[in-house]
Amino acid sequence: MENTASPKVRFTVSALRPETITALLVLLATVLMMLIMKALNPTFGSLEQIAAILTTSIFLVVASYGQGLVILLGGIDLSIGVVMSIGGMIIAGLTNGSNQALVWAIPVTVLSCIAIGLVNGLGVAFLKVPPFIMTLAVATAAFGVALGLTAGSSQRTVAPALQQLMSARISGIPIPILLIGCFLIGGSLLQSRTAEGRKLYAIGSNLAAARIVGLPIEALTVAAYGMSGLCASVAGMLLAGYSSGATLDMGDPYLMPSIAAVVIGGASVTGGKGNYLGTFAGAVFLSALSTIITVLSLSQGWRNIIQGGIIVIALTLQTKQWYLQKMANRRLTGQGSPNRALSQNSKV
């Protein structure tokens, strides 16, 4: 089919751009939100506060990367909160206040959490258990084991080096912000530019086609969940460094936001769409949103109402933008309804 070759090329190019545009729009919305708050409340929005917002968003930024990879496949990872906590507890328990122990404690922590992720991946890929249930079951079981072994909190102190990592600055910029920058660049490249990353997109968009083409679906599925475990372990270690301690419930506040960040950033929960810049924008957006809500000094009930409302509004605006982009694409390729059969419309 020669004719479909050139529209396909244009399809690929313009298929990437909507996602980047979404990401930029979310970042724009974040900035807009902050400007409005600053107008209403002059003490808001200082450089210091923005630095604080970015610094504390690192946990969500890292955790939602793994979540994003899994969602790209059309799955979901509900074990991220528990794995983060377990990662934090392992690093605290193994280092026990010593910096030298970090050399071997970090690999052990990371490998343990990857192992949990692999269990998830194996269950989803080979036993065909739905990701929702598999990751929930693994999270429940892992939580139980950790609770039984530790009674819920680490009695050891985290290595000082990790604590300093989270609080120190290089030429005035807090180290976590620099880490976020590196992670953003590295993560984006891995997801969108490597062959493995592209294969994840393919699997998420159309499983049957991916199978026909011969992609190693099971292997990539397991790998994606393993990566999610890896990200959760890193986020957990950073959180333990930040809080100077580890408890088994410290990762819980990050589970739902990790999903929200991915979706606000433009990914589709049915898979095949979204890039890391979008997820990153979503994570920053949520961090800024929670700060704004705090500043508004309302009761928790109103805070929840506003937070939920803003998520819905963000999604609505995003969908309008997608719709416009699709219209533009259709005019570009000159094709009509066959696109709809190939697109994700049937799931949405």
Binding site: G74, G75, L78, G123, V124, L127, K128, V129, P130, P131, F132, I133, M134, L136, A137, V138, A139, T140, A141, F143, G144, V145, L147, G148, N206, L207, A208, M256, I259, A260, V263, I264, S268, V269, T270, G271, S299, Q300, G301, W302, R303, N304, I305, I306, Q307, G308, G309, I310, I311, V312, L315, T316, T319, Y323, R340, A341, N345, S346, K347, V348
Partner: protein
């Protein structure tokens, strides 16, 4: 396309294999439970068990409808929280409080469902993210109505709905039976069949003239009513209002649906399976206690049982797939969306 619709409705006439396996698992679990806890088969024991199950069962029944239509809904806990605090605040203050508060919470659930349905069907928002937003909003509304646990549920609701009628039949059991009966009638209606069709292949359904958007809207609304009812029954169980409903309940609702054999990708399954799934999750707690599993192992076994139940469900999926035409999109939808 018309052929596959007819085929789909013909299959509705067969007993659902997926819920059959769940039923077998439930029986096995209940037997082990009652061997270790003789009080399980007393009227009191069964009444307690049904009371513990019913909120989860009705919530997951509502969620089943949405999942059948190939959408997701996180807002169940939000609506339950709002219902619960409403019943606790108004049921003793309004005339005919028992019925009145029931209608009120069903109305509230309906409204939330309509909002969700409109956002998802007409504005095209992704259901997972959108209902996450509405869930958080509902949690906020519950906190605004009641900022700390309290309130008082009318005595009739609290005492009669958790008790038995004629000294023999638990009220909760009757309510469950009515829900199951309603489902059996419902799934043969045009609306019921439309839900399956939309969940299987929305584009094809649209082409055959089914109003996809309207179906989705109504599905969300109906599920909302179910959540309202679940919140009402929660008020009967606890006798008071609490603005916080735990997140773990939300995950159990999904687990109940999946364990019951409903495919999370849509188009396959049913309410009966989800009710059994809810029963499995509830009896699991009692089973682990009765057998004497140390708290260290409880969570591990919970996780294991969930996976086992799903494998059971998958078994049925493998069997049912062989009964369908090999080249339909069923094969993909069953797995690709997971």
């Amino acid at each position: 396309m018309v052929m596959s619709m007819k085929q789909a409705s013909r299959e509705k006439g067969r007993p659902l294999p997926s819920s059959l396996f769940a039923a077998i698992l439930y029986v096995v679990m209940f037997v082990i439970y009652s061997i270790n806890a003789p009080s399980a088969i007393t009227l009191g024991g069964i009444t307690d068990l049904l009371n513990n199950t019913i909120v989860l069962a009705i919530a997951s029944a509502g969620l089943t409808l949405i999942i059948l239509a190939a959408e997701l809904d996180l807002s169940s806990v939000g609506v339950i929280a709002v219902s619960n605090v409403l019943v606790a605040t108004v049921s003793t203050k309004m005339p005919a409080g028992t019925i009145g508060s029931l209608l009120l919470v069903c109305l509230v659930g309906l409204l939330v469902g309509l909002v969700n349905g409109w956002l998802v069907a007409f504005l095209g928002l992704q259901s997972l993210a959108c209902t996450l937003g509405t869930m958080i909003m509902c949690q906020g509304i519950a906190l605004v109505i009641l900022d700390a646990p309290g309130g008082e549920v009318a005595a009739f609701i609290m005492n009669r709905l958790t008790d038995t009628v004629f000294g023999m039949i638990p009220v909760a059991g009757l309510i469950l039976a009515m829900v199951v009966l309603a489902w059996l009638l419902f799934r043969r209606t045009r609306f019921g069949i439309a839900i399956y069709a939309v969940g299987t292949d929305a584009v094809a359904s649209h082409l055959t003239g089914i109003d996809v958007k309207g179906t989705k809207l109504r599905v969300f609304a109906l599920a909302g009513v179910a959540y309202g009812l679940a919140g009402y029954l929660l008020s009967a169980q606890t006798g008071t209002g609490d603005p916080r409903v735990s997140n773990s309940f939300l995950l159990y609702v999904f687990a109940a649906v999946a364990i019951g054999g409903t495919s999370l990708g849509g188009g396959r399954g049913g309410v009966i399976g989800s009710v059994i799934g809810a029963a499995i999750l509830t009896v699991m707690q009692k089973l682990l206690f009765a057998v004497g599993v140390a708290d260290f192992y409880t969570n591990i076994f919970s996780g294991l049982i969930m996976v086992v139940a799903i494998l059971f469900g998958n078994l049925s999926a493998i069997l049912t797939l062989h009964q369908r035409m090999p080249l339909t999109r069923h094969g993909d939808h069953g797995y690709s969306a997971q």
